[in-house]
């Protein structure tokens, strides 16, 4: 990956990272989108999309409700999408499933770290507001603009840092793990798919398995099974 690629991926990581809470909450940070864009930057959008689909199963659990702490999937998804691609000959230099598992694990860890980093940004915003209380109470519009602008800068810095962590040390560790893999690739495959499907199924169960939505969930699973047999 060239320095230009790193810069491009980090820039996209900032865009999708600030999207989560700060601006504009258009869901560009969802893994389905962010990893696809990361893969596209790296020249392999289809594999970006593949890892994005897997990460999206984890993100289905995330409800960005109010002041609760939740993972930030955007920056690590962009990085994972950029890293998960075959060589120029179209063949993966590292075993496919161990490489996917290690990148998904890195992305999950960085997403989890992103929730804590967001908490730190919100606390920093709070401290800045306390410092500007007199101006705010006097109705000074410059205080509002300054607080909004610095809030954005803090969040952009957080997103850039998360993207770089996932891309550089994260990518290195994932590469080492995949290179050192000795067990059957099936172990990696089953682990990543059980974890992803387990999180998504548990989220669906928690949200929709009670009351009126339960029968719709069952109908959806039935339709999905039929669809998987016919098309997927």
């Amino acid at each position: 990956m060239t320095p230009g690629d790193v810069l491009g991926v980090t820039a996209v990581g900032v865009v999708v990272g600030v999207d989560l809470v700060t601006v504009p909450q258009a869901m560009t940070g969802r893994p389905l989108v962010a990893a696809f864009v990361g893969g596209w930057i790296a020249g392999s959008p289809i594999y970006g999309l593949l890892i994005g689909v897997v990460l999206e199963l984890f993100a289905l659990e995330t409800l960005p409700v109010g002041a609760s702490r939740y993972p930030d999937w955007g920056p690590p998804s962009v990085a994972a999408g950029a890293l998960f691609h075959p060589g120029p000959d179209g063949v993966f230099a590292t075993p496919f499933w161990p490489w996917l598992l290690s990148l998904v694990l890195v992305a999950a860890l960085v997403a989890w770290l992103g929730g804590w980093a967001m908490d730190a940004v919100h606390r920093a915003n709070g401290a800045a507001i306390v410092r500007r209380t007199a101006a705010l109470d006097a109705g000074d519009p410059r205080a509002l603009i300054g607080l909004q602008a610095w809030g954005f800068v803090r969040d952009a810095g957080r997103a850039a840092l998360l993207t770089l962590i996932a891309l550089l040390p994260g990518g290195f560790v994932a590469q080492v793990v995949a290179d050192q893999w000795r067990a059957s690739p099936g172990v990696a495959e089953n682990a990543v798919l059980v974890a992803a499907m387990g999180v998504a199924a548990a989220a669906a169960w928690r949200l929709y398995a009670r009351g009126k939505t339960a029968r719709w969930l069952v109908a959806g699973v039935g339709a999905g099974l039929a669809g998987a047999l016919l098309w997927a």
Partner: protein
């Protein structure tokens, strides 16, 4: 005041600022700073009165604590600005802001976070599994954001029209209908997406003859995962358990003799 909101100078700027309402989110004032920031362009007409004292007082009021779903906060902003420009008593405006927090938060959580968002994501996933590729992701973004943008803009105008009587806007037939439809829609879409994604991902990584055995193993593992998570729910999130499972697999895979 019978003035259209569009006729108020600063309408376009205020609308744009709605999208950054959480930029200075904090645990002390939550969305309060963004609320004041988005209101400010619409309150500027108060600057012409009494040397700007009403403008500054209104801005200070609108920057106090406020918490709601970010998309639906625009309803409260429109209503609060209208009340300020109509010269309503500050206590009534503050009471209205406080009273709107709970209902607007609950409405957004049900309609968007637990309904429209998972429904659109699941639809995007299904489209990808059907061969749409990146268009599946694009379809998700477009579909989701049509409702997102309409809600923000409609909310500002609905709040403006209603002023202090804004609670009526929450009973809008489309919102009520949406609340009835969106839960089943999301359940159906998420339910359909899970098996289709499993089939699609497995086929991308393996020869077709191996699919069924692996799919069955994953299915059994998934049921076990959900059962364990149900027991540990109070102590561990789904992501936490997933990291434990994947971490154990990585350790085992690397240390395998």
């Amino acid at each position: 005041m019978g003035v259209s909101l569009r006729a108020i100078p600063g309408f376009a700027v205020a609308t744009a600022r709605l999208f950054g309402i959480q930029s200075a989110f904090s645990y002390e004032r939550m969305l309060g700073i963004g609320f004041g920031h988005a209101s400010e362009p619409l309150l500027r007409t108060l600057g012409e009165r009494d040397g700007g004292t009403p403008y500054r007082a209104a801005l200070a009021r609108q920057s106090q604590f406020f918490n709601a779903h970010p998309y639906f906060a625009s309803i409260a902003i429109g209503a609060a600005v209208r009340a300020e420009l109509d010269g309503e008593a500050p206590e009534r405006i503050e009471r209205m802001r406080a009273a709107l927090c709970g209902p607007l938060g609950a409405l957004g959580d049900r309609l968007i976070w637990a309904g429209w968002l998972p429904a659109c994501v699941a639809l995007g996933l299904v489209l990808v599994t059907l061969g749409a590729g990146g268009w599946g992701a694009a379809a998700f973004l477009v579909l989701y954001n049509v409702v997102h943008v309409v809600l923000r803009v409609w909310g500002l105008r609905a709040g403006w029209r209603a002023g202090l009587h804004v609670s009526g806007a929450l009973a809008h037939p489309l919102l009520q209908r949406g609340l009835v439809i969106v839960g089943p829609l999301a359940a159906l879409a998420v339910g359909a997406a899970l098996p289709m994604v499993l089939g699609w991902v497995v086929r991308r990584g393996l020869a077709w003859s191996f699919v069924w055995g692996h799919a069955l193993a994953v299915l059994v593992g998934t049921v076990l995962f959900v059962a364990v998570l149900q027991r540990l729910r109070a102590r561990l999130s789904g992501l936490g358990l997933a990291m434990v499972v994947m971490g154990a697999a990585v350790a085992g895979g690397v240390l395998w003799p």
